[in-house]
Symmetry: C2
C-alpha cells in the first residue's frame, strides 16, 4: 500500500424525500444566493425543480437559473454560468442532475472566484486555490461527481475533453434520493452502471499490493452488476436503486483507490470517443473497457485473472490463466450486452470511427503515454481502439 | 436501506513517516496552541513524542502536555485536561495514541468550550454544540476513534462507562503510520483486531436490508481476520499492518452502518465488564461477542447464518441452518483462541464475575432493553453473561 491522503468531506444526505431538505442544507452551508444549474426539461416536468425552488424560497434563499446543460458538457455554458454568477452576486452553486450538470457547476464555481480563464485550471496552466461552495441534488447515479473533486469539460474549439481533480471542488453536500432515479430511461441507468464500474476498474487494475482495498472493491463491483440486472427487470426496486446510487458514490469518492497507483487509461481513451462522436460516456466505456482488458492482460495478467475469478465469478478449476481471463472478459461483455449495450464502437457510432483522429487527439491531450497498470504508447492505444471496433 | 446521513470529514494522512507532517497539519487546521495528550512512556521512549513536538515547534506552534492517560479512560483526567486547556488558552487538542487517548482528547475538547460539566453531554442532560478541533496521530488501530464522533469515558464515582456520538467530535485529521504499530505488544494488536471486527458486527447484524453494505462489510471483516493471523506470525509485515490500520478506520467511520439500524448491545454488555474489572475492551468483546451471537441466533438466525458462510467460510453443503450457525460461531471462537485470547469471562478476570452487579450497572446505564437485531431484556443480558462465563 502506498502512502495516501483520503479526504471525502461531503455530507451525503441519502434516502426518500431528502430533496425537501435542499433549502435548509444550502443555508446550513452558508448559501444565500444560489446559481441553480440543471439539465433538460425532465426535472421541470417531474416537479423536482419546483420542489427545490420552493425549498430554497422557504428558507429565504434567492436563486438564479442556468439550465439546459447537455451531456458531455462544454465550455460555452461554463463561461455563461461564470458571467451569470458574477453578475448576480451568487454565493453558492447548486447542481441538480448528474455528472454533466455537476461538472459544469464545479467549473463555474472555480471560474467565478478567479480572474483567470477557468480553462487554465483544466489544462494545467494554473492551480486552483479557491472556488464557490457547490451542493448537489443527484438525479443520475453514474459519474460519481457528487463525491469527487473532479470535473470533465469539453472545449468546443478543438473538442478537447479535459478533466481536473482538486479537493476544493468536492461538493459540500450531496442529496441523494434513489426514488428520483426510478424514472430514468433504461439506457441512462445502464450507462451509469457501466461508468461507476469503470471508476472502480481504474483503481482496481493496479500493480500496488492492496488486499483490503481489492476485497471491498470487488464486493462493490459484484453488487453493481447484480443490482443493474435487477433494475433491468424492475426499475422501481427501491433497494436496487439505493445500492446503485450509493455504489456510484463509493466508486468515485476515492475509497477504492486509497494507497494504489490508479490507471485511468480506459477513461482517457474513451473521452476521445465521446468528445468526437458525442456518445454517452458509459456507452463508450462498454466498448473500450473489454478491449483495454484484452490488451493489458497479455502483458500483465495478474489483476485481470483475479478480476475474472472474484468479480466475474469464473470457476478456475481445470482452466489455465489465459482461459480464465478470456472467460472473465467474455462474461463482462455478456453483462454489457445483457444491459442492452453494444461492445462495438462501430455499432455504437453507426460507422467505422476515425482511429487516426482519435489517437491524434488523445496524444494532443495526454502526450506520448498513458496508464500505469500497463503504460500504453499511442500505438498501444491505436491497438485498443481497433480491438473495440 | 433506511434513510441516512454519512459525514466523515476527517482528513486521513496515511503511510510511512506521516507523523513528520503533524506540525504543518495542525497549522493548516488553524491550531497555534496545542494540548498534546498521550498515554504511557512507550511513545516517549520510541522517540515519537519528540518527533511530534519537534514538528510542532518547527511550525512555531506552542504546546502543553497532558500525559499518562490509561486504558478505559476516566473523567478525572478529562477534568484535569479541561482545566489545563482553559488555563493555557489552548486552541487545538492533539491526541497521540489509541482510543483511550483520543476519547479523552475529545471529551476535553467538548468541556473546554462549555460552561457545563462535560459529563452532562455524556449522560444526555445536554446536547453538544461546539468543541475545540481535535487532531490525531494514531498508534493503536482498534477503537476507530480517529474516524468517529464517538468518545467513551468512565466516571470514577460509580464506575459508569458512557459514550457520546456527535459529528462535532470527528477529528479534523488523523495521521496514520502503520510502522508506528509494529512495536505494539501482541496482546494489544489482537485486542485491536477484535474491537474493530466488533464495530462491524454492531452494524452488520441488523434487520435492515443492505446487500451492498453487507457485501463490503464482509470483505473488510474477512481481511481483518486474515491480516491479524498474519501479524501473529510476523508483526513487521507492513502490508498487514496497513490493512489492519485502515480497516479499523472503515469499521468505525460509519461506512459499514449506512442505512442500517445498528445494534451495539455487545459493546454495551462488554462495557460493564471493562468498567468493573478494568479488562481490555477487545479482550472483553472476545468473550461477549460469541455469547451474544449464540443467544440472538436462536431468535433471529438470518444474519448469523449469512455471517457464518460469508465471513467465517462455513461450507453450507449438507448442513442445516443450526449446524451452519454453530460452526460459524465455533470458528469465530477458534479465531479468538488463535489470537491468544480467551472466550471465557471467568478466565479473563481470573474469577467468576458478579453477574448481578454487571446487570444492575447495565440497567442503570441503559434502561430495561438494549439492541435492535434482537431487542434484549435485562434477563436476556444476564443469559448472555452466563453464556460467556
Amino acid at each position: 500500500m502506498d502512502n495516501f491522503t483520503f479526504y471525502s468531506p461531503t455530507e451525503f444526505i441519502f434516502g426518500k424525500d431528502t430533496q425537501k431538505k435542499t433549502g435548509e442544507t444550502v443555508k446550513r452551508f452558508g448559501g444565500n444566493k444560489v446559481l441553480l444549474v440543471y439539465g433538460g426539461s425532465s426535472a421541470e416536468k417531474s416537479g423536482l425543480i419546483k420542489e427545490i425552488t420552493d425549498s430554497l424560497m422557504s428558507e429565504g434563499i434567492e436563486y438564479t437559473i442556468l439550465k439546459g446543460i447537455q451531456p458531455n458538457p462544454t465550455d460555452d455554458r461554463v463561461y455563461e454560468g461564470i458571467a451569470q454568477a458574477t453578475r448576480e452576486g451568487v454565493t453558492f452553486i447548486l447542481a441538480v442532475g448528474g455528472g454533466s450538470v455537476i461538472d459544469t457547476a464545479k467549473a463555474i464555481a472555480l471560474g467565478a472566484v478567479s480572474t483567470r480563464d477557468f480553462w487554465d485550471f483544466f489544462c494545467g496552466k494554473a492551480t486552483p486555490v479557491a472556488a464557490l461552495p457547490v451542493g448537489v441534488v443527484l438525479t443520475i447515479p453514474a459519474a460519481g461527481s457528487e463525491a469527487s473533486g473532479n470535473s470533465v469539460i469539453t472545449k468546443l474549439a478543438g473538442m478537447h475533453k479535459l478533466s481536473i481533480r482538486t479537493n476544493i471542488l468536492r461538493p459540500r453536500f450531496a442529496i441523494m434520493n434513489p426514488e428520483l432515479t426510478m424514472t430514468l430511461p433504461w439506457f441512462q441507468t445502464a450507462c451509469g452502471a457501466v461508468d461507476m464500474l469503470c471508476h472502480i476498474f481504474e483503481r482496481y487494475f493496479s500493480n500496488t499490493p492492496a488486499q483490503l482495498v481489492n476485497g471491498y472493491s470487488e464486493a462493490i463491483m459484484r453488487d453493481i452488476m447484480a443490482r443493474a440486472l435487477e433494475l433491468k427487470v424492475n426499475g422501481n426496486d427501491y433497494e436496487a436503486r439505493a445500492d446503485i446510487m450509493w455504489a456510484g458514490t463509493l466508486a468515485h469518492n476515492g475509497l477504492c483507490g486509497v494507497g494504489k497507483e490508479e490507471d485511468w487509461a480506459t477513461h482517457r481513451i474513451e473521452h476521445e470517443v465521446s468528445a468526437l462522436y458525442n456518445v454517452t460516456h458509459g456507452a463508450g466505456l462498454a466498448c473500450i473497457a473489454p478491449a483495454w482488458l484484452s490488451f493489458v492482460s497479455k502483458k500483465n495478467p495478474d489483476m485481470v485473472w483475479r478480476f475474472s475469478i472474484n468479480v466475474m465469478g469464473v470457476d478456475p478449476e481445470r482452466l489455465d490463466t489465459d482461459q480464465i481471463i478470456d472467460k472473465g472478459i467474455q462474461l463482462l461483455k455478456d453483462f454489457y450486452h445483457d444491459l442492452g449495450l453494444t461492445t462495438s464502437l462501430t455499432e455504437l457510432i453507426g460507422k467505422t470511427p476515425d482511429i487516426d483522429a482519435l489517437v491524434e487527439s488523445l496524444e494532443g491531450n495526454m502526450g506520448k503515454t498513458l496508464g500505469f497498470y500497463v503504460p500504453l504508447s499511442m500505438d498501444d492505444c491505436r491497438e485498443i481502439y481497433k480491438l473495440a471496433l
